[in-house]
Amino acid sequence: MSSRQASLPSLSLENVAVIRGNRLVLRNLTVTARAGDIIWIRGANGCGKSTLLRLVAGLLTVTSGAVKAEGRIALADESLALDANVTVEHALQFWADLDGASASERSAALADMDLQGLAKIPVRFLSTGQRKRASIARVLASKAEIWLLDEPYNGLDSASCARLDQAITSRAASGGIVFVAAHQPPSINVAHSLVLDNQGVAA
């Protein structure tokens, strides 16, 4: 029982402050997330939502405070990170191989985002919404326990939003942690709603 609990993902930020470009973006931020949590991060433009996700991903360092994450992390932000000149299938395969995902897991990720019909299309020919779905499929195939989704609903049609909701719910139900930074409230039950004000403080 204890070894099972030890493998569960967890994430905590304690009194975190971040300065970027001489601006205090986040301050006094304390967040704790446990397996099964879906956390909706909201706030005005520039309040630090993306900074918070990049911080959790380890792409930024804190100015003060501490970030502790247990579990593999996957990030889908505004950057697609898929090679434009190869097919969707091959672009996803590159990351899936690095993540140790099998061909069936990759196919399942494509199916979950309804991308099977576009698998043989070069990434550069995808529409904005299709690119977003491909980016989310990369996260799905990663086998990561902690998902960081930055504005994941932007550009998605209602059917794709529902698919994404389903994927998020499944990930949380299987013991994962999902952070969703979005202006619109997700149509799924969220464990916490983290509101950042213009000073980067959790309200």
Binding site: G58, L60, L75, D83, D97, D99
Partner: protein
């Protein structure tokens, strides 16, 4: 190791499909083709200076793909995704250097055979020239990745890259030209040592530049 090979393979594929390979090779051969037009059909002069010209052409050819080496991956988020998976920036730089060597070195050496024929280089000098270039190409790849990492995202990155790269290649050029002398052994050893030092150090410099450029 499997992941490292996957990243190197991706670099080679990007170089071969994105114009990062054929543009420098065409440029290299264009220099070799145009040089006799400038000097005239003086076989002795061509034989004496041709090796040096091919060295300079090779050096300049390495400049051409600099903007393709780091900037697209930074803009598309590939570097962030690699960092997220625990790849150190130095390891990413090493993979990029290895990819550049694989993608660029062999075609350039093949182009050298063609180029030396166009210039009329003596056959005896061709082997020395190929060996010298083969020794220098890893260092040129290391320098180009390092400069690409330093200048990625800066305005005028191409010009700045050239300004930074050319002085750093002077030792390679000096020892490379030295290998074309009658007794190339000492120059070849110095060239190998210089190339080894640059190749070994460039991933660290490139990695630091990649880290500094992360926003």
């Amino acid at each position: 190791m499997k992941s490292f090979i996957a990243l190197v393979t991706r670099e080679v594929r990007l170089a071969w499909t994105g114009g990062g390979l054929w543009l420098p090779i065409v440029f290299y051969l264009a220099v070799a083709t145009l040089f006799p037009f400038v000097t005239g059909p003086d076989k002795a002069l061509l034989a004496r200076t041709g090796g040096g010209i091919l060295w300079i052409a090779a050096l300049l050819a390495t400049l051409l793909p600099i903007e393709r080496l780091i900037l697209p991956d930074r803009q598309s988020g590939v570097l962030d995704q690699l960092a997220l998976r625990g790849w150190s920036d130095e390891l990413v730089a090493t993979a990029k250097i290895a990819g550049q060597i694989v993608a660029f070195a062999l075609p350039l050496l093949l182009a050298t055979v063609v180029g030396s024929a166009l210039i009329g280089l003596p056959e005896a000098q061709l082997g020395t020239l190929l060996l010298g270039l083969a020794l220098a190409l890893p260092a040129l790849a290391g320098l180009s990745v390092m400069i690409a990492a330093l200048t990625a995202g800066l305005s005028g990155a191409s010009a700045l890259g050239g300004l930074l790269l050319v002085p750093l290649t002077i030792p390679l050029l000096i020892f490379g030209a030295g290998t074309l002398a009658e007794d190339p052994r000492n120059a070849m050893q110095l060239l190998a040592a210089t190339s080894l030092a640059i190749t070994a150090l460039s991933p660290f410099a490139a990695g630091a530049a990649l880290r500094a450029g992360r926003i």
